[in-house]
Amino acid sequence: VREAAWLAALGLLPLVGAPILTHPRFRILGAAARGVLSAAAGAAIVSFAMTLFTLARRPWGVLTVAALALVLAAGLRAMLGRSPGPPLAPEDARAERRSRAEVFATFASALGVAAAFFATMSAGATSPDLFFFWGPKAQRFAAARGVDAAYLAEPAHAYMHAYYPPLVGNLGALASMAARGFSWTAATLTFPILLAALAAALPGILRGTAGRRRAATVSALAVAALAAVGVRAGVAGNGDMPLVFFETLAVALLLREDAGDAAIQLLAGLLLAGAAATKVEGLVVAVAAPLLFLTLRPARLRSPSVAASAARLFAPTAATLLAWFAVGAATGLFHEYSEYGAFFALHSEYWRSIAVSMPAALGRAGFGLPYLVPLAGLLISGRPSREQWLPLGAAACLILFLVFAYLHHVIDPSQWIAWSAARVLMPVPALLALALAVGAGPPAAPVPPRAAPSPR
């Protein structure tokens, strides 16, 4: 019963995001994508609202948090204006019959999700980190009705990384407050649920980048790759699946032909803020993807200026992290991200170890095939186009950042790499797959709005 109540409480998230995603400009994405994007946007907003409560030293309450989050969402909706925008007429999905390739792709996605669900329910994909810090934080924050600085400051809890971005802990606490207790099983189920959400949303989003068939096959490839890595690397219940969820949706939005639209940019910015609030490395993609977008896709910037686009893409992340670091400063808990050594104190003597350990770690996740198959698709499709460098560049930045992080380890990081590399590089296969949607023929043409039936 508690499992169901815990998961049901997360149903608040799409309700919070609904004021934004019900804007007419998003109708073209289709109902499934809009529902999932509502949840993703709602998650970023609710977590931000909870951080603001902590900053203001006000205790969390489910209703008060929801109320503030809805006010924030309404403010963002107001920023989108009232105009329906450029030709974003709703696509009538029923107008076209599904091709065999689409049906097969849907089936492959469903198999991936089913594998993730069964593995999670059978205790085959549980992340130990759920028990080591994600869960205990959420559990404690729910009891304390806020980020419990005293708890995080205890030397016995130093391994919980007080500075770590707050979204997973915040949302877990919210669900625990609503369900009157933390549910470990429900927390693990977020892995297959978010995977299923990606499978539902990606085809609709990518139809703005490529044709229906390619949108479906790319979505299936991304979902199947994430399922294969996630089950083998054991990510159920930790922050890796929420991170890849936010990043994949945000980059998919930025690849759309209509990504110059202010509404799409604001939504992408919000999802990137969600990524930055989920894990430290989320900040890498939250910075790299918009920078690459602004650099590589100037023709898409229909909005008044590059500065306005940059503001929409970066401001949500900036606001989210400013609030979090203000919490750190106000409580004296932290002033920076700090991990395993002094910043830029690189141990270059471990280059060789890292170069050997990383491929070996990826190899243990199904012979590296979840990473190699999308890469093979890219190699077959020819030289990357300029726009494909958006997801490819973001993936490259993530890999470089992780090497940079590993180089900070004061002892040989090969063991750390062995248990972390496959899962922290989970966004890479998804980003490689997204690159395959670019330049694959014209996006599905929007169907012009049907004329109202004549009263005669």
Binding site: G112, T217, A224
Partner: protein, 139 residues
Amino acid sequence: VDFVLLAGAALLAAMALAAAPWTRGFARPRTPFDASSSRFLVPAYELITEAAAVIPPGASFAVRTEPPNPPFQALFQRLGVALLPDRRSRPDPVPGLPVSADWPPEADFLIVVGAAPRDTGGEIVLETARGTVRRRGPR
């Protein structure tokens, strides 16, 4: 290219299915780690879950392993923080390093994961196949 992508998706979905622990059937697992790559946590999980019944809220605890295994001991202590949320964790001062056989400082209860606990004093309040829980006697 679409054919390659579909074939790749099918292959990866099949790999995900193959990695799932089908041989266990649809029975509800006893612990969240039963079929995971972190199965080494199962004994500690079971013992600490049962220890929740004998360690009252507000009490402090330390987790030890028998035979001594400092890295596992540090991880089991963290598991204790998760599964005994209203109690105070009192790990050994330097996690992961070898510890003495003495009773850990400031710990009211000592959870010893392992079949053959050393006699570290105190009263045994729980004994299972996974280990024992001892309460500190009068100081």
